[in-house]
Amino acid sequence: MDDDLIIGGEKFSSRLIMGTGGAPSLEVLDQALVASGTELTTVAMRRLDPSARGSVLDVLRTRGIKVLPNTAGCFTAGEAVLTARLAREALETNWVKLEVISDERTLLPDPIETFDAAERLVADGFVVLPYIGDDPALARRLEQAGCAAVMPLGAPIGSGLGIRNPHNIELIVEAAGVPVILDAGIGTASDAALAMELGCDAVLLATAVTRAQRPDMMAEAMRSAVRAGRLARLAGRIPRRRYAEASSPMNP
């Protein structure tokens, strides 16, 4: 079945977008990325450390995975815009996962700074994928501002709490004309499947895989879960009923 994910005019056959944070080594990360089947993977921008050996970029390049720089660690629109521009320069991509957080304890996205940065980055020619709360109104406004996708959270980053407000995710999906990517909060495979069943176009996760006891095995589980959830969404689930409906003939 031909069922490509299209973001900013680019096609992906995998609907699982991976992050790279939290992996104990580049070898473990490499195995997990391969097992996940991902075609798009995030990296962060940080000060160059001359003592660092090996690079996440080498892993992505070797595996032919498109790099998606993020603006993790930014607290203001100004910081995020500068980080995106540096990423564009270093990685030769105009794609950016826009992430502007409000505080270090919750890492929840700041909607005001995020919207401000999104407008500036769209005007500067970026393909902007903003990380946001599960807020249908903000998602719509960001789409109107020219973002290529919206990335509502399921739960706080790294929390593994799953999708705390499935209803809001459905509302975002219903109204969206750009891909909706469930980002953050995924704990295990059923969370990823649920995101897809709710109608999300893709799932972005990192911690659930990189900090699992067997990252490569969990990556494979996520790959299957995203595919299963997508198929279930397309297939159309049965309505929920209050009482039983016999699946075997009742007459003798």
């Binding site: 962060a44 690079s55 540096l86 990423a87 990685l91």
Partner: protein
């Protein structure tokens, strides 16, 4: 001339360029980006951009994250 490179003080010859500042940390030319006083300096301009006293140079690269 004193400049700050990634938060650390460095002494560079007067009129030193962005390239010379980057070389304090790495020989790499790809996968690296530079901002001087919060303005991006594109790679093609590293050789021709002279630094000034007290400039803040940031040399960034991609790391695991997100």
């Amino acid at each position: 001339m004193n400049v700050t490179i990634n938060g650390t003080a460095h002494e560079l010859p007067s009129g030193a360029t962005v390239t010379q500042a980057v070389r304090k940390l790495t020989e790499a030319t790809s996968g690296v980006a530079v901002a001087v006083n919060d303005e991006v300096v594109s790679r093609g301009a590293w050789d021709s951009t002279a630094l000034a006293e007290a400039d803040r140079v940031e040399v960034l690269t991609a790391v695991q994250g997100g």
